[in-house]
Each structure stands twice: as structure tokens, then as C-alpha cells.
Symmetry: C2
Subunit: 168 residues, 2 copies
């Protein structure tokens, strides 16, 4: 395989930026910035997320069987970088971000402009990241998405910096 | 569930535009515009594609066990709209686009600036679209991706029109 071509081709896939959150059985919480996300069905509404296999978020999502994708908005670069690191729960906040529990218990970050809560339906554990399939069970819009296309309101990978990629 | 919020939140996911191609055992070819694509692992390099369950591409990918994601470039809106419709193979072209066979037989469209060829490793058939997981086995860059970010060279969903979405 042409490794350079593989890297460039895979980096051509555009991404938004999300904070994946979940609550473990002991009340611990994971919150991790992710970008490998796509919708995968209208009915039922399914989403797919690629999650690092050795991460705290991975084990907590598997344990709880549910998660929230908090969709970051334009200007929230700091929040994206913050959740590249792992943080411990501090009451009703994590990493300095307050949250409310969704119906599944998974945290919905107050400052994210939109979110979808999902029930984990399928898991494919095959690589350094696992594929989590979630059925959307609830969703909310917390912020003002503006007048234009709603995907323009999303924080994009390219907004994180000219040289920032996660893929390839 | 708040259906309006679900629709808006899912439409916040940004997408690139791809033509999924595959060759059936009888030499028939499918070529279909898709956008529900994400990488899902570095090692092995996995991609996930959501494909309409009742489409010709769906049955041909399942039959052949391999596919190519042809990544469209900026300015290729016409090609994207062309492959919203299905076309029959005409020798070494389909829908007016010439191709060469990849190692798996799946067509690599000559005018796509980049492509990845994949072996189908897993399939989740649960909704109106199925989730195909592919391991990237070969890749190529055919066009000039320019000097900037390579994802800026990709045709994005938003390039198809202010009101064009596939998701929600």
C-alpha cells in the first residue's frame, strides 16, 4: 500500500469536533474529544463513533451502554483541546464544564450548542479504535445556531489549526 | 424525543462527498454518491460507510466484499449529483466517468482526485442504511490537492447548495 497516499486520502475526510461523555456505574464520568463521527441510518437514527480502545471513555461507554455526543460550536476550540486530556468528575462539572445528566445518566455539557444522547447498540472492536454504534434516543439544541447552514455552526477540525489532523 | 432538535443536531455533522464503487460477480458495477463516511481506526486502517439498504451499491458491496471510496474534489458538484442516480456500466465507464479496476476489481474513477480501496470486514444491517466497515488495502492520489489543508480540497456537502443536506 502507498502509505503517503493512504494518509492524504484519509485526511481529506472533513470532520466536526465533539465531546463524547458517559457515566460509569460508580458515578465516574468520561469526557473525551472525538471527531470520527457519522450518521449511519435515518430510521432508526444511528450514529457511529470511533473511540480509542485504551481510553477511559471507551470502557465507560461499554459499561454504561449509553453516551452523549456533545457537538461543539464555532469558537469552542479551547473546550476541544481541554478534553483531549482526561479529567475527573467534580460534582456536576468535569474539566471546568458544568453538565446535567441526560435520561441515561450520560452528561450533557451546558456549553455545547447541541447534543444527541445514544443507546449503544453495537460494538466492533477490531483496531486501535473501536466502532460504537448508537441509536439516538434524545437530542437537544442549547445554543443559537445562527441563520445559515447548521453545519457551519459546528466547530470543525480545520478550526483547530492549519496543521491539526486526527486521521490518516 | 424532540424530533426537530434531533434533525438539527444530526445536520450539524459536516460531511465530504464520495462516490462509492464496487463490482459484482457478473461484472456489473455500482457507483453511488455517499456522504456518511468516517475513519474508525488507524491500525488496521478502518473506514465506516453508511449505505442505503435497498440500493444497488449495497447488494454489490455485500456480494463482492470490497469497495472503493472515490473522494470528490472541489468543483465536482456535477459528478456528485450524477451519481445520486444509478447508472449501468458501459465498458470501462459508468455515468460518463471512465475508471480503472482496483486490485479488488472495484472501479477507481479517473476524475476523482483521491481514493481508498477497502476490503469489507463487518456489516451491521439494522436500519434504512447499513453500516459497512472496510479495511483500507490501497489508496491513491490522482489529482493536485493544492498547498493548503487536504480536507479543503474535498467536495463538502455544503458545496452542493445552501439547502442540501443528507442527514437528520
Amino acid at each position: 500500500m502507498n502509505e503517503d497516499a493512504k494518509k492524504s486520502a484519509l485526511r481529506m475526510i472533513p470532520y466536526g469536533i465533539y465531546v463524547l461523555t458517559a457515566e460509569g456505574n460508580d458515578g465516574s464520568i468520561a469526557a473525551a474529544t472525538v471527531n470520527w463521527v457519522t450518521q449511519a441510518s435515518f430510521a432508526p437514527p444511528l450514529v457511529v463513533v470511533g473511540v480509542k480502545a485504551d481510553s477511559g471513555a471507551h470502557s465507560i461507554v461499554k459499561e454504561s451502554g449509553s453516551f452523549v455526543l456533545n457537538i461543539l460550536g464555532k469558537g469552542q476550540q479551547g473546550m476541544a483541546f481541554n478534553f483531549f486530556k482526561s479529567h475527573e468528575r467534580d460534582g456536576d462539572s468535569i474539566g471546568g464544564e458544568t453538565f446535567k445528566a441526560g435520561a441515561s445518566g450520560a452528561p450533557i455539557l451546558d456549553s455545547a450548542p447541541a447534543w444527541v444522547e445514544c443507546k449503544l447498540t453495537d460494538t466492533i472492536e477490531k483496531g486501535d479504535h473501536s466502532i460504537f454504534v448508537g441509536e439516538v434516543t434524545e437530542a437537544g439544541i442549547s445554543g443559537d445556531l445562527g441563520e445559515g447552514r447548521v453545519d457551519d455552526a459546528t466547530l470543525w477540525m480545520k478550526d483547530l489549526g492549519d496543521k491539526v489532523f486526527y486521521g490518516g
